[in-house]
């Protein structure tokens, strides 16, 4: 063993994960193969980073509460559409996002989100989404309007 533990511990803090796993051909990897204490420290680092990865994956999963993002149509109505989440959720339980592209038809002034949705979708479109998917692209009766559902 040519590297001492103090030097190995310093290198552990910046080494590539492959080196910590002993997959590299390096003085540090050689030390880790021979020193149980430093091996334990390397294993703790790898385990901690795996925990962090799993936690971030958990945090980056959609919440279970239905939510609607207010979005400005690509062009057309010229004002931000602010949906009433509760009534919209009644129309399609887990819909989270909506895109209006090239809206040719003007919504009635003061229309609620539910009224707009009923104007655009004769039937709840969520039923037409493919199984196993969380995004659906739907054409409406207006060829100028496409809806992207994120649910």
């Amino acid at each position: 063993m040519t590297m001492d533990c103090a030097a190995a511990r310093a290198l552990l803090l910046e080494a590539d994960p492959a080196e910590l796993r002993g997959e590299a051909d390096s003085p540090l990897a050689a030390h880790l193969a021979a020193c149980a204490d430093c091996r334990a420290a390397a294993d703790a680092i790898l385990a901690g980073e795996a925990e962090l990865d799993a936690a971030l994956r958990t945090l980056a999963s959609p919440s279970t509460d239905p939510k609607v993002i207010p979005l400005r149509p690509a062009r057309g109505w010229g004002r931000r559409m602010v949906p009433a989440a509760a009534s919209f959720a009644a129309l399609a339980a887990a819909v989270a996002g909506i895109l209006l592209t090239r809206p040719h038809t003007a919504a009635p002034r003061g229309a609620t989100t539910e009224q707009i949705a009923q104007l655009m979708f004769p039937a709840p479109p969520i039923a037409r989404a493919a199984a196993g998917q969380s995004v659906a692209v739907l054409k409406t009766s207006d060829p100028g309007v496409t809806v992207v559902w994120v649910y």
Partner: protein, 193 residues
């Protein structure tokens, strides 16, 4: 970047670009989790990240035709996510709270802290808090891309539009901070000699 089993990502992108809406839905579903993760790490806010991820799906639909394959799709998508994250935070007037430019330990939102607190392991929760509160956004991004998601420093640099050597410098600083925190939480692995 996740794949979708039978069909390579590139083929799905090509079909979606050609106007196949079903392919777009498959593509968006396939990348949504990845985009959400990127948005979370970039903004440091769980709620913002979810909103950004949904916005990116919308923008993907609007702008996919502009993807010409000059860069990898992953790189293009990352930049789309970064742009959406910046716009989202600007739009809400909360740049100072979203960690985009600095690491403010007091800036974790209550919603984010609640979701971290819901993690089963307290030690993991403390590590995640440190990740967000102690690391500047750029260090978080590089560390997550390289050490947790398997991109090379050069790829991360391209995604973040920084030099590879700069990405490596951020990576080493982030590793040191995270690993010191991990070892501090593992008494048996500390160097007590």
């Amino acid at each position: 970047m996740p794949t979708t089993g039978a069909e390579p990502m590139e083929a799905m992108v090509a079909r979606a670009r050609a106007g196949d809406e079903r392919a777009f839905a498959e593509l968006a579903t396939a990348v949504r989790g990845q985009v959400h993760r990127w948005a979370l790490v970039r903004t440091g806010d769980a709620d913002d990240a979810e909103d950004v991820a949904q916005t990116v799906v919308i923008r993907l639909h609007r702008h996919l035709h502009a993807f010409e394959g000059r860069s990898r799709f992953t790189t293009w998508l990352y930049r789309l996510t970064a742009s959406a994250a910046l716009d989202w935070v600007k739009g809400r007037g909360r740049r100072e709270r979203a960690h985009l430019a600095s690491a403010d330990p007091a800036a974790l939102s209550a919603a984010t802290d609640d979701r971290i607190a819901a993690l089963e392991n307290e030690r993991t929760a403390a590590l995640v808090r440190s990740f967000f509160a102690e690391l500047p956004a750029r260090q978080r991004e590089v560390f997550d891309l390289v050490d947790l998601q398997g991109f090379t420093p050069a790829e991360a640099g391209e995604m973040l539009e920084i030099e590879g050597v700069t990405a490596r410098a951020h990576l080493f600083r982030a590793r040191r901070a995270i690993r010191e925190r991990i070892l501090a939480a593992h008494p048996n692995a500390r160097d007590d000699r």
